[in-house]
């Protein structure tokens, strides 16, 4: 599979539709908060489907930026701002590129991660989406020699493990931060969404 602009667009649409099929689960996962993480992602990724379907893109940068803007501008809530920032700012690494490879994907992830940390001011271990994202960023950087399909698979695994690990963390951000130890045993909803994103990317390469 060559990850040209058209293929990447189809992949992002596949990911968006995948997230949309998990809205109820994501709301349920947010029951210690406002039970609306899934609804926020529903608004964001519905906007992604609408925006990406309506346009042709000439490079990867503008494709991923559009994805980010769609989520950021439509969702409201903290997660929408963070996920939108991830795609929008990560996209700077893909400007003018016509094909996604392991190196450019690694740069996209690194920039996206840095931007999320700057905007959200969270750290690894604070029980946020970072705890699923950082492991994916790290494993990608350590495996540049592999094909992009293999990288997506590694990312999906690493993000899933990272999300699972949030069950043992105490929430420090968002609506749940005042619940303290009551948040133990529950995964952070944002980290679940990150794991899903990589999982769908990986699944796409098998289609």
């Amino acid at each position: 599979m060559i990850f040209d602009v058209a293929t990447c667009k189809n992949m992002l649409l596949f990911v968006a539709n995948g997230i949309l099929s998990n809205v109820d689960m994501l709301n349920e996962a947010d029951k210690l908060g406002d039970s609306d993480h899934g609804s926020g992602m529903e608004v964001g990724f519905t906007a992604v489907v609408k925006k990406l379907s309506a346009q042709e893109f000439t490079d990867l940068g503008s494709l991923f930026k559009s994805c980010g803007m769609a989520i950021m501008m439509s969702s409201g809530g903290a997660s929408g701002a963070i996920f939108g920032t991830f795609f929008k700012d990560g996209a700077k690494a893909l400007e003018n590129l016509q094909q996604l490879d392991s190196t450019s994907f690694s740069e996209f992830l690194k920039l996206g991660l840095a931007s999320v940390m700057k905007r959200g001011k969270a750290n690894y271990g604070d029980k946020t989406m970072l705890d699923a994202l950082k492991p994916a960023v790290d494993i990608t950087a350590a495996n540049i020699g592999l094909s992009i399909g293999q990288i997506f698979k590694l990312c999906a695994q690493a993000a899933k493990e990272g999300s699972e690990a949030t069950k043992n963390m105490v929430a420090s951000f968002g609506r749940m931060k005042n619940l303290g130890e009551r948040t133990l045993g529950y995964a952070d909803p944002g980290s679940i969404t990150v794991a899903l994103i990589f999982s769908y990317m990986s699944e796409f390469t098998q289609t």
Partner: protein
């Protein structure tokens, strides 16, 4: 429990239409987004833009009016508005002299308002931000929630923005005002969220939660029901010690009904509050008792105190009009 809602998906739209109608022509909805603004905003005025999630009516959107907010960005229930709503509402209400964003300190609001501020700054529109963080039940100052004390913040900001001639001066006054406000709430019974039909939290029959947040966030302690004197004592002690308020201070007091407390209960609380303040030598110049920052139909109340100086008194006692609250002296 029965509610007057037609369709859970059109709650916000219908609420906004009803609110705009209540303003009888002085306020309009911003095109294409869930925002409202005063119809007539003077050229070169510093714009005061407030906002946050809905579900706390009459705030924030009910605070638009003369010598109050110029515009409000409206999010879904308990969710911050998205940057597009804030940006479009800001553009529509900007009059050439910059915009003061004033809202409660919550992660979602902070992020989305910051994004909108960046977009506006990119276009050469100056924005300054003050976040309301009056809730003493959260110990960590940076993470402090904004609760009913916003009442004083918006009242003072409204008068200040209407009379100063630049954004930096408005920012100075409003920042000072916010730094002098301290509040705390106590929950007696949860409310029902109109969009989901579910309770906002759970409490046992004989329990209250002191320090609970306005979205049902946990507070300082869950405890058995107490006398008004004892409960008010606990709440006011934390409030007074936090700033701290000192003997001889002049203050204003707001007792906020969180949704469906009875007026009688609020007045009983006020007896205890008045006695406590008198006992410690604090001079209360003004009391407002009412439903300002609600959490649906939650049963509970909050106490807010602001430490006043001559400048803050001037703005607090300026006449003002809004749906949530009118002030005339």
């Amino acid at each position: 429990m029965k509610h007057l809602i037609n369709d859970r998906h059109s709650l916000i739209e219908e609420m906004i239409e009803g609110l705009v109608a209540a303003y009888n022509g002085t306020v309009v909805k911003v095109d294409n987004v869930n925002g409202i603004m005063r119809k007539e905003i003077k050229e070169n005025k510093v714009t005061l833009l407030v906002g946050g999630g809905s579900g706390h009516e009459p705030i924030y959107h009910g605070l638009v009016g003369e010598n109050m907010a110029d515009a409000a960005a409206i999010g879904n229930i308990f969710a911050s508005p998205n940057p597009e709503i804030i940006y479009e509402t800001a553009k529509a209400s900007h009059r050439g002299n910059g915009i003061l964003f004033l809202y409660g300190n919550y992660a979602g609001d902070n992020l989305n308002f910051d994004i909108a501020a960046e977009m506006l700054e990119d276009e050469g529109i100056k924005v300054k931000t003050v976040r309301i963080n009056d809730d003493v039940a959260t110990d960590d100052i940076d993470g402090r929630r904004g609760i009913a004390g916003l009442f004083f913040a918006v009242k003072i900001a409204g008068a200040a923005c209407a009379s100063v001639d630049n954004l930096d001066e408005a920012f100075r006054i409003v920042s000072k005002a916010v730094s002098k406000i301290r509040s705390m709430g106590t929950a007696f019974e949860p409310g029902i969220m109109l969009n989901t039909g579910k309770s906002t939290f759970t409490l046992a029959e004989d329990e209250i939660e002191i320090g609970m947040g306005i979205h049902g966030e946990p507070g300082v302690e869950v405890t058995k029901l107490k006398s008004s004197k004892e409960l008010v004592g606990i709440m006011l002690t934390k409030i007074i010690n936090d700033l701290p308020f000192n003997k001889g201070d002049e203050v204003a007091l707001m007792i906020n009904d969180l949704g469906s407390f009875t007026n009688m209960e609020l007045l009983i609380a006020n007896k205890a509050i008045a006695e406590f303040l008198e006992q410690i030598g604090i001079k209360n110049l003004y009391t407002h008792i009412g439903k300002v920052s609600t959490t649906m139909d939650m049963r509970g109340f909050s106490i807010s105190l602001i430490q006043l100086d001559e400048e803050l008194k001037k703005y607090l006692f300026t006449n003002a009009n809004s749906i949530a609250f009118d002030f005339h002296r």
